[in-house]
């Protein structure tokens, strides 16, 4: 089914780990999706295409873009900790929200939940998170009432 083929392609682009699994075991696609043989063969060829890595990189870059634009200082302060946080966030919320303020508000709340669960962050980063989250919430509030 085309709709399943398209979903599988999107899921692969969103997950390098899933790509690796399918490369090792192509029948996995049949287990998860309703696919014709032609669709299955196409997906296996695509996932083995050298540029599949680029698709995955662009997916990740595009998930990062709204956060880097609107939570710039916080992302900078996170440094190398940003990558693992983004991976965890993308798995928990596989769908992007095209409304960037909603996407950023969701990411801030995700980090705040992690903090309350014991994730450690220095005071400076917590202050910046609070400041940038407030700004996002103000923007979000304004967009709620825009006509």
């Amino acid at each position: 089914m085309l709709v399943e083929f398209q979903q599988a392609l999107a899921d692969l682009v969103a997950s390098p780990d899933f790509c690796r699994q399918v490369r090792l075991s192509p029948p996995l696609l049949h287990e998860r999706y309703v696919l014709s043989e032609r669709e299955h063969e196409r997906l296996v060829k695509i996932v083995n295409h050298k540029a599949m890595a680029l698709n995955c990189m662009l997916y990740r870059a595009n998930r990062l873009a709204p956060l880097a634009m609107n939570l710039h200082e916080f992302c900078t302060l996170l440094g190398p900790r940003l990558g693992p946080l983004l991976s965890e966030y993308a798995v928990l919320y596989p769908n992007t929200n095209v409304h960037f303020y909603l996407e950023c508000d969701r990411f801030c709340k995700f980090v705040l939940t992690k903090l309350s669960d014991g994730y450690e962050l220095e005071r400076e980063a917590r202050v910046v998170l609070e400041k940038e989250h407030s700004r996002i919430q103000l923007g979000l509030m304004a967009s709620y009432t825009a006509l």
Partner: protein, 304 residues
């Protein structure tokens, strides 16, 4: 000799008004992305309807539009997706098209929506490749009929930047676009830089593609620049148009007798790098191209 000179323009983004103020005579046309002029609360609670317009940006654009032609260039409808068309978005697009007086409207021949959500495109940075088969053709044709009814203007579809083409399709991309033109009345927005991306990454031959595309179908051309990432070349809209793309533009554009506009795309995050002078210089080159295309006659496919 063609009866009209193609317009020269830019893809709208938040810094385009400042380019227009800097070089008002060089910008005749603006491609407007409706998705950037509203907040979409499809996945969030809002007061009132789903789409909340960014009124400041629309007012600024309306100011810029005086004496210029506007067209729509959408992302969110994702026509190749095997899903029903998003009627709320169609209606919102049609309302904006009426307000801003879009002369024509284009979408991407790429997939951004799937049944379980969306692929983040950050203004089309990532569109998934399309299966050029009868099944997809019928899906797109049906949606084009709906769009035509609501928008009441000419529709175009743009070739995307493809990194991993769907293998063994029933048609080539150029044939698919030709069929959309002949059977569905949908024109082609030919993105020459996307062909360059395909060439650089070894997935298509631009010259074969340009020979194959029906020249009558091409109504708009996009120019842009990209950059390398991890050994690949991307359509990042980060630079000026590469020389090879200019060569194709000069060689093939005289064949496109229905060409209405030539558009330069840049992303606002690279504005500082490109600079006002750099963008104005690109627009001047595009005017020279438009002049050359208008005065050229075509004999046996060659410009003389």
């Amino acid at each position: 000799m063609r009866d009209r000179r193609p317009l020269v323009g830019l893809l709208n983004n938040p810094v385009v008004p400042s380019v227009i103020r800097y070089a008002p005579d060089l910008v005749e046309y603006v491609d407007v992305i409706p998705d950037r002029l509203w907040y979409d609360f499809e996945h969030g609670e809002a007061i009132g309807g789903r789409f909340h317009r960014v009124t400041g940006a629309i007012e600024e654009l309306s100011e810029c539009a005086r004496g210029r032609v506007l067209g729509g260039h959408g992302i969110g409808l994702s026509l190749p997706s095997a899903l029903p068309i998003d009627m709320e978005m169609v209606e919102a697009t049609a309302a904006l098209a009426r307000q801003l007086n879009f002369q024509w409207y284009s979408e991407h021949l790429s997939m951004f929506l799937v049944s379980n959500g969306s692929v983040p495109n950050s203004q089309a940075g990532l569109g998934l490749p399309v299966s050029y088969d009868d099944e997809t053709f019928e899906i797109i044709r049906g949606k084009l009929e709906v769009l035509k009814k609501f928008l009441r203007c000419d529709l175009l579809l743009e070739n995307g930047a493809v990194f991993t083409p769907v293998p063994d399709t029933e048609m080539s991309e150029a044939d698919f676009l030709n069929r959309l033109y002949s059977e569905a009345g949908c024109g082609t927005l030919l993105d020459l830089h996307n062909l360059y991306v395909g060439k650089r990454n070894g997935v298509l031959s631009p010259l074969e593609y340009l020979e194959q595309i029906n020249p009558e179908s091409v109504q708009e051309i996009h120019l842009a620049g990209g950059h390398e990432l991890a050994g690949f070349y991307t359509d990042s809209h980060s630079g000026l148009t590469p020389d090879e793309v200019w060569e194709w533009a000069y060689h093939f554009s005289p064949r496109f007798r229905n060409l209405r506009a030539v558009v330069f795309e840049f992303h606002e995050s690279y504005f500082e790098k490109l600079g006002l002078k750099g963008i104005a210089g690109e627009l001047e080159r595009m005017h020279a191209l438009a002049e050359a295309v208008t005065s050229a006659t075509v004999q046996h496919g060659a410009m003389v």
